[in-house]
């Protein structure tokens, strides 16, 4: 059974995952029994009552009320059990414990951003404490995305213009993958992130280190810091740094080059153009690329944008 469980389901890494799994197996195994039973009866009938001559006359059997009530009521009881059970587990998934630790989640094409109580901010990596309920308050900057953690058996759509929430409790330190499961365009399948579960103490240390923002400019040269920011904001989901073709234009050699836009006009890539592209991405879209980038207005400050520009300058 364990081998079967591992084959069909991802490891159960949250306190509620096993509740889902038990129900999963109950429905599947009873369905399997029903399927085998019904198919066996059909195979038996087909063999037993195979046509032996073309003149065979069959008996007139139109219906049987007792039989029909039986095979209506028994499945009805079974599905009502499945319904009530599914609803109970769902309620456990929905009702957030009072002492839950809150993290804000922002989704946009095609990154996940996480913001913590003390101003700490990450992209693509959700750090949480082990053994404590964590509540995610989620919203989207553009289209609908969906936050899915197979290891926790939870999923919730992230909708623009409203907040949705979900919670989980991961008892053991470790890592789990986060998928976006609501189709959101070109790089939908690259919109992945990780949950990193720390021991309570490690988590507090991590949080304190990153207070006030994920990036620390003090001891870093601007270009290095820019590289770090570019990674945190997952710019490389769409912009390569080695010249390869992705959703957006590559950054390699772009600074100082001449870009042609969809309307035929051209510009030499300089500080102003990069700044504009970050804050108003759709103002000037390079020819041959879709206008899909979101604004980073309000997410990156001037210092950070300067650092990114310095970083791009180094990519020759």
């Amino acid at each position: 059974m364990d081998a079967l469980n591992d084959f069909f389901l991802p490891p159960a890494k949250s306190t509620l995952a096993s509740q889902t799994d038990t129900l999963f197996w109950f429905v599947h195994l009873s369905s399997l029994a029903l399927t085998i039973g019904l198919i066996a009866v059909i195979v038996y009938f087909v063999y037993k009552y195979r046509r032996k001559s073309e003149d065979e006359v069959t008996p007139l059997i139109t219906h049987n009320n007792k039989l029909e009530v039986t095979w209506s009521v028994i499945p009805l009881i079974l599905v009502l059990i499945v319904f009530a059970w599914g609803y109970e587990v769902f309620m456990n998934q929905r009702v957030v414990p009072d002492d839950a630790y809150e993290v804000n989640v922002t989704a946009q094409k095609w990154i996940w951003q996480f913001k913590y109580e003390n101003g700490a901010q990450t992209t693509g990596k959700l750090h949480v404490p082990a053994g404590r309920p964590v509540k995610l308050i989620m919203s989207s900057n553009d289209v609908i995305h969906s936050f899915f953690v197979p290891d926790y058996r939870i999923k919730q759509d992230v909708v623009p213009g409203r907040y949705t929430e979900m919670w989980f409790n991961a008892p053991e330190p470790g890592e789990s993958i986060i998928y976006c499961t609501e189709y959101c365009g070109t790089a939908h399948s690259d919109m992945l992130a990780n949950i990193i579960v720390h021991e309570q103490e490690d988590f507090e240390n991590w949080l304190a280190e990153n207070a006030g923002g994920a990036s620390k400019p003090d001891d870093l040269p601007p270009a290095e810091w820019g590289k770090q920011i570019a990674q945190e904001y997952a710019c490389n989901t769409c912009h390569s740094t080695d010249g390869s073709q992705m959703v957006g234009p590559t950054w390699q050699g772009t600074f100082g080059s001449e870009q042609t836009f969809a309307d035929g006009s051209t510009v030499t890539v300089d500080e102003n153009y990069i700044r504009e592209s970050i804050l108003e991405p759709n103002a000037k879209v390079v020819e041959g690329y879709p206008a899909v980038m979101n604004t980073y207005q309000g997410q990156l400050n001037d210092e950070q944008i300067n650092a990114i520009i310095e970083y791009i300058k180094t990519l020759k």
Partner: protein
């Protein structure tokens, strides 16, 4: 000539036996010929054939896209096409298969041909409206194809906002195409309901109505009630895109979840538009090939209607994780389980029909058994997905993809192929190669399972749908699935090959090769232009296999060919008269 009493009003009518010709000189294909006669025909049979040709074309277009999608998924990263191309391919695969193939497949193609024959009518109630439906379907299809070439669409067949109202490409054109096709669907529904109410032959009371007609009746009800909602929804999306009116897009003050309510209010019942006529086909074939009265006639007939009505109340089960209220999810989950019951009842009744039958495992029945297994798996995994807690994990994963394909391809396409094989002799007058049909059925069954069983495992493991890139853990499952899809494609090509071949080289079909008691088999093959040379009189139910064939070949003695000219009165070859009560 004897007299018979029709039970309802005690009116005495005179009947006589009309034995069908096996190979008549005049039939619907040679009485009017030439391209123009096809393009302007109001004959339901020819319109049915035109639908059949069109949906076959779109089935292969959609199938080709499916193969391209599966081929791309051979490796975790890019195999041979770009992400944007991939996104367009799976969108078009879904849109083409659903709107251009599945929705019109059984009702518009087989239903058009068979329904009037089963009712003893000369045509549908509104023959010209029927032709208009076909041209609307064709026009909508062309608009959709134009959309593909004029920018493409990459929204998924669900057109979810705000993605669909903000993405580039030809979304507006595509939705307009689907909008036009929707009218074709509505008009066909109106036509069929009227036909079933008003055009039944004398004696064909509601309790003698073939179950295929009951299936089409339930389908038509859904088409009429649900399709306008789709039309409204698509019109709203177009208004948002063209005029910038905020309805669904939060950037304009709209609500994206509202779109999902609208969309699924149509698209969930639409699933039943696709599958319920298939249930009708199953009932006909099970009874014919086991030479036995259908078990639980009323249970099967009324469960179709029950599915049609409850099917309207379950749309929210597509939205358990959308952010809708927990209470709403609970109600929708509960109703979803209720809709499972009538479906289960059908399965049990069909199985019971086999009991003490005289079962001949001919290819149509073989396809039906394929349907049984695949639809059972599809239905039971539907129970899994109806359970809210499990749906939270499985929603938008390959588990849903597999479930949907088991119901739609495993269920509906198998039922469609079964019906196509079953009625092929009546439609074309030719017999196909039975051995090849059985082999093809086996290939399709194996190919299907190899394609979609691994997807259940992938989905349970967490593989999301509509993914261009995926993590390496899933590669072996994807590869098995891709190999399966090639086998499946081969099976469909084989069916196409031997069916087309039979038109040119097939054996001449007799009027009733399966020994069926249903009315459509009591006329000549090929059928006459106006179906019946006489007004048929129905004294027995279509599944009364315990009665001799003669009692099913009765017609009104003095009505001539149904045109009311006494001079046309025909006497059967034997000149035999029969009485019936």
């Amino acid at each position: 000539m004897d007299t018979a009493e029709s039970s309802s009003n005690l009116k005495k009518i005179q009947v006589q036996r009309f034995k069908p010709d096996d190979n008549p000189d005049n039939h619907y294909l040679n009485e009017e010929t030439g391209l123009w006669s096809w393009l302007t025909t109001v004959d339901h049979k020819k319109i049915g054939i035109m639908y059949l040709a069109s949906i076959t074309f779109f089935f292969f277009v959609g199938g080709l896209m499916a193969l391209l999608v599966r081929t791309e998924l051979w490796t975790p990263a890019k195999t041979f096409i770009e992400a944007n191309t991939y996104n367009q391919l799976f969108t078009l695969h879904g849109a083409v298969m659903i709107f251009l193939f599945l929705v019109p497949s059984v009702p518009a193609a087989l239903g058009n041909f068979i329904l009037p024959l089963q009712l003893g009518a000369k045509d549908v109630a509104f023959p010209r409206l029927n032709l208009l439906s076909y041209y609307l379907y064709l026009a909508g299809s062309f608009i959709a194809i134009y959309a593909i070439f004029s920018g493409g669409i990459d929204t998924g067949w669900t057109f979810y906002t705000p993605y669909s109202s903000s993405t580039g490409g030809a979304v507006t054109t595509m939705t307009f195409g689907v909008f036009v096709i929707g009218f074709s669907s509505i008009l066909t529904g109106v036509n069929f309901i009227t036909t079933i109410h008003k055009m039944r032959a004398p004696g064909l009371s509601w309790d003698k109505l073939p179950l295929f007609c009951w299936g089409l009746y339930a389908t038509s009800v859904i088409q009429i009630l649900a399709t306008p909602v789709l039309a409204i929804t698509l019109a709203l999306v177009a208004m948002e895109r063209i005029l910038g009116i905020g309805i669904f897009d939060p950037a304009l003050g709209g609500d994206p979840v509202l779109y999902q309510h609208f969309f699924w209010f149509y698209s969930h019942p639409a699933v039943y538009i696709m599958i319920v006529p298939g249930f009708g086909v199953v009932s006909e074939i099970i009874s014919t090939f086991s030479k036995k009265h259908i078990f639980g006639y009323w249970a099967i007939a009324l469960s179709s209607l029950a599915i049609a009505f409850i099917g309207f109340l379950v749309w929210g089960h597509h939205m358990f994780v959308s952010g809708q209220a927990t209470l709403a999810s609970m109600v929708f989950s509960f109703l979803t389980f209720l809709v499972g019951i009538p479906t289960g009842i059908k399965m049990f009744n069909w199985t019971a029909t086999l009991y003490k039958g005289s079962i001949k495992l001919a290819s149509p029945l073989l396809y039906i058994f394929g349907f049984f297994f695949l639809f059972l798996v599809g239905g039971l995994t539907g129970i899994v997905l109806g359970s809210i807690a499990l749906d939270v994990h499985l929603h938008d994963t390959y588990y849903v993809v597999a479930h949907f394909h088991f119901v739609m391809v495993g269920g509906m396409v198998m039922a469609f192929l079964a019906g196509l094989h079953y009625w092929w002799p009546k439609i074309t007058g030719k017999m196909y190669n039975e051995t090849m049909a059985k082999i093809a059925c086996g290939i399709i069954f194996v190919g299907f399972n190899v394609t979609f069983l691994p997807q259940f495992v992938m989905g349970s493991q967490g593989m999301p749908r509509r993914y261009f890139n995926y993590i390496e853990q899933f590669q072996s499952f994807h590869q098995v699935s891709t190999i399966g899809s090639y086998i499946l494609g081969l099976g469909f090509l084989m069916v196409f090959y031997y069916l087309v071949k039979s038109i040119y080289r097939g054996e001449q079909a007799t009027s009733n090769p399966w020994g069926s008691r249903a009315l459509e088999w009591q006329i000549s093959t090929l059928p006459p232009l106006h179906n019946f040379h006489h007004t048929p009189v129905i004294v027995n139910g279509p599944y009364d296999y315990h009665k001799p064939m003669e009692e099913f070949q009765l017609g009104l003695a003095e009505s001539g060919n149904g045109h009311g000219h006494d001079a046309d009165l025909e006497v059967t070859k034997e000149g035999e008269d029969l009485s019936a009560e």
